[in-house]
């Protein structure tokens, strides 16, 4: 199989080079609340912003403070260094306070010609649903106007169909770990999940075909215990691989570069943008949503039931308010259910931090009697 981890560590990657040669416009976005089908339908290449485990953040630190999340500081650092200068536009969402700050500073200090803000509601009810539909219409109009393209209903339906196929394939790889034999590591899955956001849909679909053809012939991985991971946004592939090296096979996760990518079905009828709005708003398994803990907890319970981990490791990035609080509640509830939980605070991307985290994960496996 191609080296997924290597492919995921390139910025820009080969898909970006190819897109630029074709003249495809590339739009940067950060948050899972951004419906990529709208971009796909317009012939854009939506590229999900990553921090790439960068830890030198001296340019970003002139804007974001040291009390802001390391992931956002790393993303901003890359932007200010020019690593994302291949973006033809930038789309903000109000994911969390840190992310808002990241976008606000990016656009202030290193502006892109096209900048659009999708205001995502924090509640799921009819009023917010109507608002979000309007927001997607505004996004579509903004793209059409600025880039002089037209995005038709047919284009949207075709993009939605392709994303449906991709989700099916991705799910097959992701869920392949749910039997006793695990052939794809958590590090590789995380790499694949980051590639979902850094490859055009057709290319990613082809990549998945290759993965699906290759992995069944691999020997199963040796492991001491099955783990599920959860918590703050992370694309730290190396970290997950290192943690697996002490003997834990990651069989599921609730990361936003991960298990949260899978969304439930949207309603079958209605205009495409309304269907998309429903799909994204009602399946946003992120603690930035309010009055929605029960749904997030059910999502995690379902993952636990189907992937059968021996324990759950919940991370939060230092200064991540949303997951810092959510993990307290999740730990209490999961432990009440008899699920062993380890909660870890980490400094985003810090290689020096890996040893400290490995010790804790190893002790957790030992605590599990593995």
């Amino acid at each position: 199989m191609m080296d997924l981890k290597k492919l995921a560590s390139e910025l820009p990657n080969r898909y970006v080079e190819e897109a630029r040669e074709r003249g495809t416009k590339i739009i940067g976005y950060a948050c899972l609340a951004t419906p990529r089908e709208v971009f796909d339908a317009g012939g854009f290449f939506p590229y999900r912003i990553r921090g790439m485990s960068v830890t030198r953040t001296e340019l970003a630190d002139a804007w974001l403070s040291r009390f802001n999340c390391g992931f956002c500081r790393s993303c901003l650092q890359l932007a200010l260094e020019g690593a994302y200068d291949f973006f033809d536009g930038l789309v903000e969402t109000n994911g969390c306070d840190h992310l808002r700050g990241m976008f606000e500073n990016w656009q202030y200090a290193h502006p892109r010609d096209f900048f659009h803000y999708i205001r995502v509601p924090h509640l799921t009810n009819q009023d917010s649903m109507d608002w979000f539909v309007e927001e997607l219409e505004l996004l579509k109009e903004a793209l059409e106007k600025h880039f002089e393209v037209s995005i038709t209903e047919e284009d949207l339906l075709a993009a939605m169909s392709l994303q449906g196929d991709i989700a099916d394939k991705l799910r097959r790889v992701y869920e392949s770990r749910w039997g006793d034999e695990v052939r794809v590591s958590g590090g590789e899955i995380l790499a694949l999940m980051t590639l979902e956001g850094s490859a055009p849909a057709e290319d990613f679909s082809r990549l998945l075909d290759e993965v699906l053809a290759e992995y069944p012939s691999r020997p199963p991985l040796k492991y001491r215990a099955r783990l599920m991971l959860g918590g703050s946004a992370t694309d730290e592939i190396e970290l997950v691989s290192e943690l697996e090296s002490v003997g834990g096979a990651v069989v599921a996760d609730s990361f936003c570069f991960g298990g949260r990518i899978f969304r439930g079905e949207e309603p079958l009828d209605g205009p495409p943008l309304r269907r998309l709005a429903h799909r994204y708003l009602y399946n946003l398994m992120c603690p930035r949503m309010f009055d929605d803990y029960a749904r997030r907890k059910a999502f995690i319970d379902d993952l636990i039931e189907r992937s059968r981990p021996d324990g759950v490791v919940l991370f939060h990035n230092k200064f991540c308010d949303l997951h810092g609080v959510e993990n307290v509640k999740l730990r209490m509830d999961l432990e009440k259910q008899g699920v062993p939980v380890l909660t870890l605070e980490k400094e985003y991307g810090a290689a020096a931090d890996i040893g400290r985290l490995k010790t804790r994960v190893q002790a957790f496996l030992e605590r599990l009697g593995k």
């Binding site: 400094e347 040893g355 010790t359 804790r360 190893q362 002790a363 030992e366 605590r367």
Partner: protein
Amino acid sequence: MAVLFGGIDVGSLTAQAVVLDNGDIAGSASIGVKPNPLDSARTVLMAVLEQTGLEPGDLHFTVSTGYGREQVQKEGLSQANISEITAHGKGAQWLLPSVRTVIDIGGQDAKVIRVNEKGDLEDFVMNDKCAAGTGRFLEVMARTLGVGLEELGPLSFQARNPLELSTRCSIYCETEVLHYLQRGADKADIAASVNRTMAERVMALVRRVGAQKEITMTGGVAKNVAVRKELERLLGIRLVEYRVDSQIVGALGAALVAREMGGGR
């Protein structure tokens, strides 16, 4: 001939090795670390072998723990490695069978470990990087006060009016301590507040694990009598004590696990 097992613990400041025969500790050694964890492991292992008159081949099974545990195993000095958390829990409970909670405070980190009647890990928590709950904090404070680290504990007992250190951040604590010194405050009064601050910080970890009796303390800071006393006051019970140097507990735990893995009792 008795079957012998080894435990090697390479930490950030010191390294220890313990040899265990089936029933008891046959020997132990402790050294200051060398730049390379492998050198530390080799040296401390040789020291304990020399002390017990053994050859490396006499050890049936050896387990490494601590900061250099993986490297030590890769080089063949041990056959398996375990985390220092398991090692400390195991070692402490073996030394004192009634122990269920171990408070281990070393130079770099602090951990609270809960074990069952077999010494197996039930739960644990470690501080997250902040120096305020570790031996490093006491080191910095002792230096600021101009006293030796080992004097910090006994000095507390001479305090007449322990002061209030308003902050728990080690950087600001240093500023505050300097501020007190400039105002002519008594060193003993400051030392008492430093030790109390340390104990309060560790208590947050103790609460998180839900400590169970008996409780003991290991690691370098266990030697600070004032921190021990403050912890006893906050916990409302007496900490139980060992008959051996508390610094070898990790290596002992590793040797005990080596005995389990290597087919001993």
